[in-house]
Symmetry: C2
Subunit: 545 residues, 2 copies
């Protein structure tokens, strides 16, 4: 692919975070084109004609003119300064949505109706607080924006019913505010990106240990606002587990929640902001638990005769006292495809991947204890080598997805979680729903799945779907996604284990929390954001009665 773009990012703080490709994930320099041989193989496998789907040139993208009136601009400039209220097209285009396949299909076709009227870059919490007061008073919708990595429509601006819509880009909130080596906590501002957080902490000998696939671009505030879960969640926990306290700006004032390591002082209100996706307030600072950098990392690949045996082995580990830091098991299809992509011989059956991090001897002892459980559960060890490819490419799958998309192949993911007892029936139901929705005149479909987050009571399921783009790829994926979401809630899964809700999962939120849960969410929002300016159209379900 040659549609690289080098528009400089909006001037941020001293450590400006990188800007992503406008029509694809990540660094424009890392975009690649698909090997013709592989393309033929995919075409054959999917039994479909593939057509090239290059993006339109950036200058052909139709951006609506900014509707920010001079009055509104002045009100925003009064808070952040003129240079931090950006209305140029390049900046607006790059805030017109997230990075789901539907988002990218629109951008590639030159559609950016959802571009915000302005991108505003506050310097600190107080500016965020004042901006929210201004926006509430002027009925300007506000989309908080960290890394812009949402794959659920979480950062798509919605203008309807408002005087304007702005994207609140938090990249200037990029400081390590404080570090406490006794209590092992760090206060980070919301705009700090994943790699920068690790850089700041590792200089002191510590890590968050939070590495989701979005790590290279995602922000601390985004992690908190979406209940992110990293690839090593078995050892380090989910992001919400690391949050000791948080600070959030709302149109009605600032909230400071949490602090004690544990408390019985009423409901835990932090848990309203964790996962709130910018609809209740803007998280500006988070105090996080940190851990010592591991002395030692030990990887081990395993194979199991089949998916049922492999998932049972991971269950036994999750329910034991001695756990790996990272544990994944791939179904037969993903095992086969993964090996093919890596140029390796596929292990028979299902592959599992374990990782251990910690102090030297402790890691060895833990790995030895786990090895016993895995062998008793029917596993065969294959050493560390097969894991190396995964480690090397752990953040690259979105690039591959975009490469495939340019070659006319939809390759998208979706995910859920449930208890161990219902895991297999949920797996089958979602796979069947995706297959039924996509298989037909436009070709076949490959559905694969892995478990990558395990808990004592259950696990996540992460599906990857590959199919020909077809005549109307947006509608084609939309149909499949709806079918999968219906199957998820019908079979007791959560509508999202770590991608969050955004606009895309919002129709299923009533199943998630019930009509009364929807009332509660709306009541909280009405208290903090009475004008409803905070990230409209996301998360909060519409009334059903």
């Amino acid at each position: 692919m040659t549609h690289n773009d080098t528009t400089p990012p909006p001037s941020g703080g001293p450590a400006s975070a990188p800007e992503m490709n406008w029509y694809a994930w990540g660094d424009p320099e890392r975009a690649t084109s698909l090997d013709p041989g592989l393309r033929d193989l995919v075409s054959q496998t999917l039994n479909a004609e593939l057509r090239d789907m290059p993006p339109v040139p950036e200058e052909q993208v139709e951006l609506p003119p900014s509707r920010l009136t001079e009055h509104l601009r002045e009100a925003l400039v009064a808070v952040v300064g003129a240079e931090h209220v950006r209305t140029d097209d390049a900046v607006r285009l790059r805030r017109s949505g997230g990075k789901s396949t539907p988002d990218l299909l629109l951008r590639r076709a030159g559609k950016a109706d959802s571009a915000p009227d302005a991108v505003v870059l506050p310097a600190d919490h107080d500016q965020v607080q004042r901006l929210l007061e201004v926006c509430s008073a002027e009925r300007i919708a506000v989309v908080p924006f960290g890394g812009g990595t949402s794959v659920v429509g979480g950062v798509t601006p919605v203008r309807d019913g408002f005087s304007a819509v702005i994207t609140l880009d938090l990249r200037r909130l990029d400081r390590l505010v404080s570090f406490d080596p006794v209590s092992l906590t760090a206060v980070l501002e919301a705009g700090v990106r994943g790699p920068r957080a690790e850089e700041l902490l590792s200089a002191r000998g510590y890590t968050l240990g939070h590495l989701p696939q979005s790590h290279e671009y995602a922000s601390i505030g985004g992690y908190a606002a979406t209940r992110s879960s990293g690839q090593a969640s078995s050892g380090y926990g989910r992001f919400e587990d690391m949050v000791v306290s948080l600070r959030a700006a709302t149109p009605h004032g600032t909230m400071e929640l949490g602090g004690a390591p544990a408390s019985a002082a009423g409901p835990d209100l932090r848990q309203l902001f964790l996962g709130s996706e910018g609809t209740l307030g803007v998280i500006t600072e988070v105090k996080l638990r940190v851990r010592e950098l591991p002395e030692r990392t030990l990887d081990e690949a395993w194979s199991f005769p089949d998916w049922a045996t492999g998932t049972t082995a991971l269950r036994e580990l999750a329910q034991s006292d001695t756990r790996p830091t990272m544990a994944r098991v791939l179904d037969e299809t993903e095992t086969f495809v993964g090996a093919a992509m890596a140029g390796q011989e596929a292990t028979p059956g299902c592959q599992a991947v374990l990782g251990f991090e910690g102090r030297g001897e402790e890691v060895e002892a833990r790995a030895a204890a786990v090895r016993e459980v895995m062998i008793a559960a029917g596993g065969t060890p294959h050493g560390p080598a097969p894991v190396a490819h995964w480690r090397k490419n752990r953040f690259s799958s979105p690039y591959l997805r975009d490469t495939l998309l340019s070659a006319g192949i939809l390759a998208e993911t979706l995910e859920t979680a449930t208890n161990w007892t219902d895991l297999q029936s949920l797996y089958t139901a979602v796979r069947d729903a995706l297959t039924e929705a996509l298989e037909g005149d436009e070709g076949g479909v490959v559905v694969m799945c892995h478990v990558s987050h395990t808990y004592p009571t259950g696990a996540s399921l992460y599906f990857t779907v590959a199919t020909a783009a077809g005549a109307d790829p947006w509608a084609r994926w939309d149909r499949a996604k709806r079918a999968a979401s219906d199957a998820i809630v019908a079979h007791g899964g959560t509508i999202s284990h770590h991608h969050a809700v955004g606009a895309d999962h919002r129709p299923w939120m009533v199943e998630e929390v019930g009509p009364l849960g929807g009332d509660v969410l709306r009541a909280v929002k009405a208290t903090l954001d009475p004008e409803g300016v905070l990230n409209p159209g996301k998360l909060i379900p519409s009334p059903t009665r």
Copy 2:
């Protein structure tokens, strides 16, 4: 003490839970009187004359007449049947408050103005749901009641502004609804008491591992509604960590929250009900994570030269990968007093107590790893024997408190938590505040403290205070408690680590969640309980603006 009482409990389900002494903690048969020699020693230590404070005979307690009108009674009877709407004095008296020293001082003096107008005993969730609808329509205040173990005024009926107040005794909701040995979860009804829960689970080979001091009487619903924390929380986690999902009745309908092992589908609304103390709804069923019964238990007592060294050792354990199941460290005073009470020779400095539970070899390996940390931190091992006394008496301290109270000695506890960095300054501030409030003309005071719950980022502090009752014991303790609470919030502690808020800590809730947090709590309550009938006067702070 001879004021035993054998009034039978209200007829409940097949496994009627025990009823507590009306003026004291626990089983009337287990009440004892203070050894005269010990009494003299305490009198000398406190430099105070002690006066006997026996309770008035039960027949002398002034109970206000029930104000339940015939109309209201009929409405309640229509839901639960006549035999489950109790208005007899013995039953009402035993629901007139919890088990704090102030509660008991009132009862002992024959005061029970707060007795509910009726005690209503629903059979199941649906009856609770219908009762709440009736009570909301008729403006009857409702106090949910599990074991009645609150020490923060959490179950004291408040009638003001309502047509009547009832106590909703949940003892008939006493079933194990379902058990899932694959996902390791159990659904228990809210009225199941601690020992009964363990009986039901241990018959299947499992345990909750949740053993707070209130265990012998506390209920599953109470644990959830107050964010209880058990003595082995280092290994088993706090009660809220065990809750997979919950069911709650509210005047506006039933909520079912949670289910997946983890979710990114918005704010975690379970966390509003956990710690809600009956103000937002009545928790009727909880799905809990269970664990295999331990094969092996290993105890070890340690000593440290001083409190600072001992707490640092526990911090190092909490921040390491290898942790005990239970960890406590006592300050110098509590070490000395504890040994004296046990008839043991006091270890010099501070005593620490560790417990390990799990599979045989795993326990041994973990204990060995912990031993290294403890020795490096300056600890001296003293073997298992000193722990045996603690294990034997772990649920008995409230009996001793009441024995002392009859002998004219206030012996009450309070607790908080903070990060490790601020732990020593908080410890000193609370101790000083208690000493200043209590030391004077009426005698001296002994303040002692232990850490019994540790986390990577901080720990709890549990204070025990002993002082002469003085001329007006209620006012004397009230003054001390206020001073301690002010010191706690001024020094960054949470107003409660595991006792909850109730009426007693409510004045400090604004410091805990901020004025806007108070607005959020009131908005949630207004949505679920628009008439405000649910446990009025507890938890939810009054508006401050």
